[in-house]
C-alpha cells in the first residue's frame, strides 16, 4: 500500500517514483551508446535498490563496480564488497529477509560457489535479483563466455531469464523486480546473459529518463513475514518440523517445494505482458526453425540473414524465459517445423534437452551447433549446420 502512495513523489535524488507500466511503455526513450556493464548501472539507477552486494569476478566486475558509483552518488541505499560469492549471496539473503530490495551480480565459478544459496532464496521466497554474466566453469581455467552454469540454475526454484542484448538487460532488470515482488510470485530472479558478448560490447540502447525510478519494494506484501520485528507473528512455529513426525516434515516440504514451483509458474501472468511473451517468434511457418536463447539468438539472426540471401527461409524462436519454461508456446511455434536447430554456447546442449523433453516427434531437434569455452559462434557455422541438415536429410530427418 505504501508503494502505490509514493507514485509521483520524489526520492532524495529527485527521481520521481513512477508507475511501472508507465515507466516501461510510456516514458520517453533516449538512445545512448554504452557497454552492457554501463547499461546494468543505468538500470540499477532507476530501480530504487536498497542494498547491493558486490564481488569481483570476470566479466561482471565492471558492472558491480559501476553500481558502487551509484551508491557513492546516493542512488543505492547501501553497497558493500562481500568476501566470496557464497558470502555475497548470503548477505543478499540477509538483506532481503530484512525487507530490502536487493541486487547482485555473479559469473561462472562464482555462480557455482554461491550455489547453496539459490534454492534457499527460492524456498525462503526472497525476491532478490542476480545478474549472471555467464562464463566457463570447467577446468582448465577459463574466463571466457560459456552458458553451462544456466543449466545448474534451472532447478533451483528461481525464475531464470536469458537476455539476448543489453537492451533486454535494461528492460528486464526493471521489469524483473516488478514480477519478482508480486505477492503471488515473490521469488528470486536470475537474469542471465552470455558474459562479455553482452557486458563488454558497446551497442545502442534506448534508456528511460534518469529522473524516473521504480516505486520502492514493499516487504509487507510478501507471502512470508519480513524479519524486521515490525509485523506479526513474532513466533513462526510451535515446533520445528524435524522434531515432529517425519511425515509432517515430508508433507510440509513437499507442499512447499510444489508451492515454490507453482509460484514460478504464476509469474507468467505478470511476465507475459511486460516482456511481450516468454518467447519471441519470426517466420515460424518455415520448415527450418532456429530455437535459441541469449547470444545464440543474435548469431541465429545473422545466420538467417545469410540464408535469406541464398533464398532459404528459416524461422526463429527466441526463448526469453527458461523458468518458467514456455512449454506450450514452444510446442505451438514448432508444430509445423521439419527441423529444429538449437545452437548453444555450451557443451551439453541444455536448451536442446529442454526442447526435446516437451515437443512431440522430438527427433526433429538438431542438437547444436555448439561452441564452448569462450569462442563466439560465427553465423557461418550455423549456416553450415543447416546446409548439412538439408543435404544429408534430403527431406528426411537428421540427428545432430
Amino acid at each position: 500500500m505504501e508503494s502505490t502512495s509514493v507514485i509521483g513523489t520524489a526520492n532524495k535524488k529527485g527521481q520521481i517514483f513512477t508507475e511501472p507500466r508507465k515507466l516501461f511503455f510510456e516514458a520517453p526513450r533516449v538512445p545512448v551508446f554504452l557497454t552492457g556493464s554501463e547499461v546494468i548501472k543505468e538500470a540499477i539507477r532507476r530501480a530504487s535498490v536498497d542494498v547491493m552486494v558486490a564481488y569481483p569476478i570476470t566479466p561482471q566486475s565492471e558492472a558491480a563496480a559501476l553500481c558502487g558509483e551509484l551508491f557513492a552518488e546516493g542512488y543505492v541505499g547501501d553497497y558493500m564488497r562481500g568476501e566470496s560469492e557464497f558470502a555475497v549471496m548470503s548477505q543478499c539473503a540477509g538483506a532481503a529477509f530484512g525487507g530490502a530490495r536487493v541486487f547482485t551480480t555473479t559469473a561462472g565459478p562464482g555462480t557455482l560457489r554461491a550455489f547453496e544459496n539459490f534454492p534457499m532464496w527460492a524456498g525462503a521466497r526472497l525476491p532478490i535479483q542476480v545478474i549472471v554474466t555467464c562464463r566457463g566453469i570447467n577446468s582448465p581455467l577459463s574466463i571466457q563466455p560459456d552458458t553451462l552454469e544456466i543449466s545448474f540454475l534451472l532447478d533451483t526454484g528461481m525464475m531464470v531469464w536469458h537476455a539476448e542484448t543489453a537492451q533486454d538487460f535494461f528492460d528486464w532488470i526493471l521489469m524483473g523486480y516488478i514480477v519478482s515482488e508480486q505477492p503471488d510470485v515473490h521469488l528470486p530472479l536470475a537474469v542471465c546473459c552470455d558474459g562479455f558478448f553482452v557486458t563488454h560490447t558497446k551497442d545502442t540502447i534506448n534508456l528511460t529518463p534518469a529522473d524516473m525510478t521504480l516505486p520502492p519494494y514493499d516487504p509487507y506484501r510478501s507471502p512470508v513475514p519480513c524479519m524486521d520485528m515490525e509485523c506479526p507473528p513474532v513466533r513462526m512455529m510451535r515446533d520445528p518440523f524435524v522434531m515432529k513426525s517425519n511425515y509432517i516434515s515430508y508433507a510440509t516440504h513437499a507442499s512447499w517445494q510444489q508451492e515454490v514451483r507453482a509460484a514460478c509458474e504464476r509469474s507468467r501472468k505478470h511476465t507475459i505482458p511486460l516482456l511481450g511473451g516468454l518467447i519471441e517468434t519470426e517466420n515460424v511457418d518455415a520448415e527450418i526453425l532456429i530455437v535459441a536463447s541469449g547470444t545464440a539468438v543474435s548469431q541465429g539472426r545473422e545466420a538467417i540473414r545469410l540464408l535469406n540471401a541464398e533464398g532459404l527461409k528459416v524461422g526463429l524462436v527466441k526463448v526469453k524465459s527458461l523458468r518458467p519454461f514456455p512449454t506450450e508456446e514452444i510446442r505451438q511455434a514448432t508444430k509445423n517445423a521439419k527441423w529444429i536447430i538449437v545452437p548453444e554456447f555450451n557443451v551439453v546442449g541444455w536448451l536442446a534437452r529442454e526442447v526435446r523433453a516437451i515437443i512431440d516427434r522430438n527427433d526433429r531437434v538438431i542438437v547444436g551447433p555448439h561452441v564452448a569455452g569462450g569462442m563466439t559462434m560465427p553465423p557461418e557455422v550455423i549456416v553450415e549446420k543447416i546446409h548439412q541438415v538439408i543435404k544429408a536429410g534430403k527431406g528426411e530427418l537428421v540427428h545432430g
Partner: protein, 297 residues
C-alpha cells in the same frame, strides 16, 4: 516494534494458541530493565526447547532471550545445528538459512534494517554453534568482524558437532577422542576469543552459562556495544552432555568445573577503552535517570 503490532484481533482471539496469547499479553517486549529474574513471573520469549533433557544449551538460550535489552526490535540469526531446533520456538524474528553463513546473513540484515529504519535502533544477534562459527563459517565470522559490522555474535561452544552425532570440531580440546578424530584430536582448541580481539571486536567474553546474572550482564553489554561501536563476541560453554557421557542433571556441574580459574572456560573478558567508556556513560545516564525518577516521586 510496539506491542500493539502483535495485539490479536478480537475475532480471532479464541483460535490463537494459548501460549501465543500469553506471549502477547505478558511477554516482556518493551519492558525496561528486563532480565533473567523475569523468568517465572512473565511469559518467556522461548516456548520450549527441542533439545535433550538437561542440555545446558537450553539454559543458555533462556538466559539470553531474557537478557536481550530490546527484544521488540531485535532480529536473531541462527545456523544449522542443535540451536536450529530451538529457534522455531523463539518469539523474536529469527532467520535460519544455511549452515555457516550466519554472519553473512546478519551483515545483510543489519544493513537492510539500517537503510529501512534510519531513525530507529534495530539489534541483530547471531547465535550459532561452534561448528558453524569456527569451522565452516569462520571466513564469514572473521570478515564480519574485519568490516566492523554492528551486531553481536554468540557462539554456543559444545566443543564438537553435536547435532550430527559428536564429530571433531575446531573448538574441541586437543587429544579428545571423537568421531572423525579416532585417535584423538591432533591440534589445540582454536583460540577464537583472542582472534576476535585481534579482528576488531569491541567486546569479547569467554564464559559458561552457569550463572544467569553473569550471562545477563554480558549479553546486555555485548548488544549495547554492538549497537553503537562495532562487533562483539561471546563464547559460551554449553557442554553436550550426551557426547561427553554425562547425565541430564550433570550439565551445570560440568560448566562449574570448567570455569575454574585454571580451566579453559575461566571467565575472560576483553573490552576496548572506547567500549568501556561507552558502558560507563550508559551506566551514569541510567543512574541519573533513576535518581530523577526518585526525586519526582
Amino acid at each position: 516494534m510496539g506491542k500493539d503490532k502483535i495485539s490479536i484481533n478480537e475475532e480471532f482471539y479464541d483460535i490463537m494458541p494459548p501460549e501465543y496469547r500469553e506471549l502477547v499479553e505478558s511477554g516482556t517486549y518493551g519492558k525496561e530493565g528486563r532480565g533473567w529474574k523475569d523468568m517465572g513471573s512473565s511469559k518467556e520469549l522461548i516456548e520450549e526447547h527441542s533439545l535433550c533433557a538437561g542440555c545446558p544449551e537450553s539454559m543458555a538460550f533462556r538466559y539470553i532471550l531474557a537478557s536481550l535489552p530490546a527484544p521488540e526490535d531485535t532480529v536473531m540469526v541462527g545456523s544449522t545445528g542443535c540451536t536450529s531446533l530451538v529457534f522455531p520456538h523463539v518469539a523474536v524474528h529469527n532467520i535460519h538459512s544455511l549452515f555457516g553463513n550466519q554472519n553473512a546473513i546478519a551483515t545483510g540484515l543489519k544493513r537492510a534494517l539500517t537503510v529501512r529504519f534510519p531513525n530507529k535502533v534495530k539489534d541483530v544477534v547471531v547465535l550459532a554453534g561452534d561448528g558453524a562459527t569456527v569451522d565452516i563459517g569462520l571466513d564469514m565470522t572473521l570478515q564480519s568482524w574485519f568490516r566492523g559490522e554492528k551486531f553481536t555474535t554468540i557462539c554456543f561452544d559444545n566443543e564438537l558437532y553435536a547435532n550430527t552425532g559428536g564429530q571433531e570440531s575446531g573448538l574441541m580440546q586437543k587429544g579428545f577422542v571423537a568421531k572423525m578424530a579416532p585417535v584423538g584430536k591432533k591440534f589445540d582448541k582454536v583460540r577464537l576469543p583472542e582472534i576476535a580481539r585481534e579482528s576488531g571486536c569491541q567486546y569479547v567474553v569467554n564464559m559458561t552459562a552457569s550463572q544467569p546474572g553473569k550471562v545477563e550482564k554480558v549479553i546486555r553489554n555485548a548488544v549495547y556495544i554492538a549497537r553503537e561501536l562495532g562487533p562483539t563476541y561471546v563464547q559460551i560453554y554449553t557442554p553436550c552432555i550426551l557426547e561427553i557421557g554425562k547425565q541430564s542433571m550433570e550439565g551445570l556441574q560440568e560448566m562449574r568445573d570448567s570455569e575454574k580459574p585454571t580451566e579453559r572456560f575461566a571467565y575472560k573478558e576483553y573490552i576496548t577503552d572506547e567500549a568501556k567508556a561507552y558502558l560507563a556513560d550508559l551506566d551514569a545516564k541510567r543512574k541519573a535517570k533513576a535518581t530523577a525518577q526518585l526525586a519526582a516521586k
